[in-house]
Symmetry: C2
Subunit: 489 residues, 2 copies
């Protein structure tokens, strides 16, 4: 196994190809790196300049006195070889080669890449790329990707065989307040391949969930061996593209990778314990679910809903994904009889018939969470139901109508009740070690998609739709069953 | 066919059960109605009060001098019958019966409902409900739903057999800046059924697309006859829940409707030209696509992408939904040879390899749009790609680094270029009558999901993911093919 720690946790970085032209990689990537936290410990290397962005610049890495853990290279392809030789001479073991114009551009580039990689392999240098979108590690304040996303610290790490898919993922995660540990765009995979990063992240303590975007794999056997070992340690969620003829043609022209027969690959991945999803949005949400929730231990789901229709939609979703909805036991019925109108459904889903009542929300959620009949609970529409009340208040204000709440900070009051409920749900998850998936009635700009509570193992995700929540339950269960089966063997 | 015009376009409304308690339907619904625009022309009816929210109140509708087009009733179930009798006496032909506690609550409620409906049918009154979430018509400033969404004026109309699904849809549409024409929650369908509304909306000039959420249908034959006629006039997009055993059990306890065998129903719906989707988010996006875009005339898709990976994902998506990606013809290749780096893909997807160049964006989009080889064009990542540049600028600012843009309003400049491109794309759609689906690189709070241009037939939607865009193409094509087949017969 390769020693990649210093690649992801460098103390000092040489930035080769530094320029003050902020429309070039050598300009903006350096700015992102500095803005992320690397200032005194980044060493710009530039042939023509004495300083770059106020930092002293060097003609060559050989002029730098301090030890360098990582070199980031952005100079044009033709000049890369001698620079890499200098890196070796300087004792640099890790290189991120951002430069494009190698094998992805045709014969000439391929020759250039082959020569360079032969040298890099011989010298045992860890090289990311060429043609990579960069690298990120929030735990080392290392932000060196084309996206300029300063991801929030977290435990989700992403390996992407496409830079633009990778940066898209980072953007979406950032918008949704989802923490990221590491990202690496594997580029042309001249030396380090996706599976090398997978192997490293499987043992990385700052990584709890591994996410992969895969277009093609060269050494399928090795990939699957490493994948299997990784999946035994933590969840690995993957999206494989190039599934169809059109997709694999596009992939071939893009990274030159062979897409292979998808069905065979998919079956092998599943057997190795990898969780497969079908789209980019799914990739993010399922990763976030693994990062936030305990896994359900079985397929029995309890549903609480503020309105009937959403319960029906969710029940369909559950059954279509192999989940079942056990009936309510006597205890739950008796307890809910006390607080719900006499005509309530007495079934699963529990229909709260639109009642606005914090105690009812808490009580019904706890009854489901503590019951041995359910492995997971879905709560529909309760979170942010108060936003309807808020809107009523504002309508009244506009009309000049007095309400009992005129002297109260309504927004704060209502938001407080939502936070109170969310904290309560996290406590229930801690107490019963069962996941609870809330689908919010509304999600507005004010809402964080991920809600944390101090000193809690688990977090709460505000799901946007029942479909999203059910998908996450099904995928977490798939992984849990894989792990259970492993244990039995 | 029922005459429902005054139900949706009332001039004067009686509001029966008016109260100043804003936590009750009789309070907040009246507030929404007033806030939406009904002030002098709404007549509160209240046994105990002289005035409600500053409006003079009446003991009975019979005390109102003016002619009333619509009565909204919120009083408890037991008192409804005599009030409906008074409505009839007053000559009111349209009633929205919000009140719950009828057949959805059991035997006693069922008896109450049956009695009432027999009377209402005899008197030929148009009654929505009971147990309805209300009614909305943005073209008549009629906002009388539990959601208090003041939908933007538009051409999408929604019929929902679940009030909470309906209001959810209105909320999401509002957040996405998607215009709505009408909404009606059909509730228990005591008199007016979903298909009655469908029949009306098929001929409504303010409705361009009809959306339905269906849990169950009582008279399948009549429903399908009406659906077929409606689909011949405008697109009808439907989500059917209660597809599974779990779902139909939930539906039965919710509205008492029979879910029936889904496969049979689905096949019949498709044969009638109805476009079926699988989830609530899909329902909204597909409706918005029909509302904004010309239909593709065939299944040939051209893709332009800022980065390779997303092109691969989209190519897969296309093939999986029956769309094909014809190769580029000589003309496009020759033209793009002039502006793209020599190593460009020369294939479909056209990979712009991350170049930031407005002329390139416009040129490549027009080449695809004008070509007779493509029926639809997808543009990935171009819109809002400038946000990366914007972030670079802010990073530089934070670091105290001077840039050539220090004296420029960067946000405005960059946003301007995005708007310029979006207007250009709308012009292309007008010119070539071909749909162009842009998937934005990033969507932030500042962005409107729907972009309109004065005097243009078509609008632009910012899709969040390739999957969303491809789904919309496939569904629009499905409808176009249905219409073509009809014409041939």
């Amino acid at each position: 196994m390769r020693e990649l720690h210093k690649l992801f946790y460098p103390e000092r970085i040489a930035f080769i190809g530094a320029t003050e032209n902020i429309t070039k990689w050598g300009g903006y990537l350096l700015i992102y790196l500095m803005d992320g936290g690397f200032r005194e410990n980044v060493y710009p290397v530039s042939i023509g300049r004495e300083s770059v962005f106020g930092l002293p610049a060097y003609k060559s890495v050989l002029d730098i006195k301090e030890e360098i853990d990582l070199a980031i290279i952005t100079i044009p392809a033709k000049g890369v070889f001698p620079v890499v030789e200098e890196c070796h001479e300087k004792g640099i073991k890790n290189i991120v080669l951002v430069t494009s114009g190698f094998s992805e551009t045709g014969e000439e580039g391929k020759r250039l890449e082959d020569e360079l990689m032969a040298y890099v392999k011989e010298k045992d240098i860890n090289l990311v790329g060429p043609n990579t979108m960069g690298i990120l590690n929030s735990h080392a304040s290392l932000y060196a990707t084309g996206a300029n996303v300063q991801s929030k610290k977290g435990k989700i790490s992403l390996i992407a065989q496409s830079g633009n898919v990778g940066t898209q993922f980072l953007e979406w995660a950032d918008q949704s307040n989802i923490g990221i540990s590491k990202f690496v765009g594997s580029g042309n995979e001249g030396v380090l391949r996706s599976e090398d990063f997978l192997e490293y992240l499987a043992d990385d303590e700052d990584t709890g969930v591994i996410v992969m975007y895969i277009e093609g794999v060269d050494d399928g056997r090795r990939f699957l061996e490493i994948a299997k070992k990784a999946a035994a340690k933590k969840p690995v969620v993957a999206l494989k593209s190039g599934r169809t003829a059109a997709g694999s043609t596009a992939a071939a022209s893009h990274t030159g990778s062979m897409a292979g027969s998808y069905r065979v690959f998919e079956a092998a991945m599943k057997q190795a314990g990898i969780v497969i999803v079908n789209s980019l949005p799914e990739l993010l949400m399922v990763a976030a679910a693994f990062d936030s929730y305990p896994n359900p231990k079985g397929n029995r789901v309890g549903i609480i809903t503020l309105g009937g229709g959403w319960g029906v939609v969710t029940a369909d979703n559950c059954e279509e994904r192999g989940l079942v909805l056990p009936e309510l036991d006597e205890k739950i019925i008796t307890e809910l009889d006390k607080i719900l109108p006499s005509f309530w459904s007495r079934g699963n889903p529990v229909d709260l018939v639109g009642m606005v009542n914090q105690d009812l929300y808490k009580k019904s959620t706890e009854l489901m969470a503590e019951s041995e009949d359910y492995d997971a609970v879905i709560v529909l529409g309760v979170i942010n139901s108060v936003k309807f009340a808020e809107k009523t208040f504002y309508s009244a204000q506009r009309l000049g109508i007095q309400t009992p709440f005129d002297d109260v900070d309504v927004k704060k009051l209502l938001h407080g009740s939502t936070l109170d409920y969310m904290d309560f749900v996290i406590e229930l998850m801690e107490k019963y070690d069962r996941p609870i998936y809330p689908v919010a009635l509304v999600i507005t700009e004010e809402d964080d998609i991920v809600h944390s509570k101090d000193q809690s193992r688990y977090k709460l995700i505000l799901f946007r739709s029942p479909e999203e929540a059910v998908l996450c339950i099904a995928k977490q269960l798939e992984y849990q069953r894989y792990m259970d089966k492993r244990k039995d063997q």
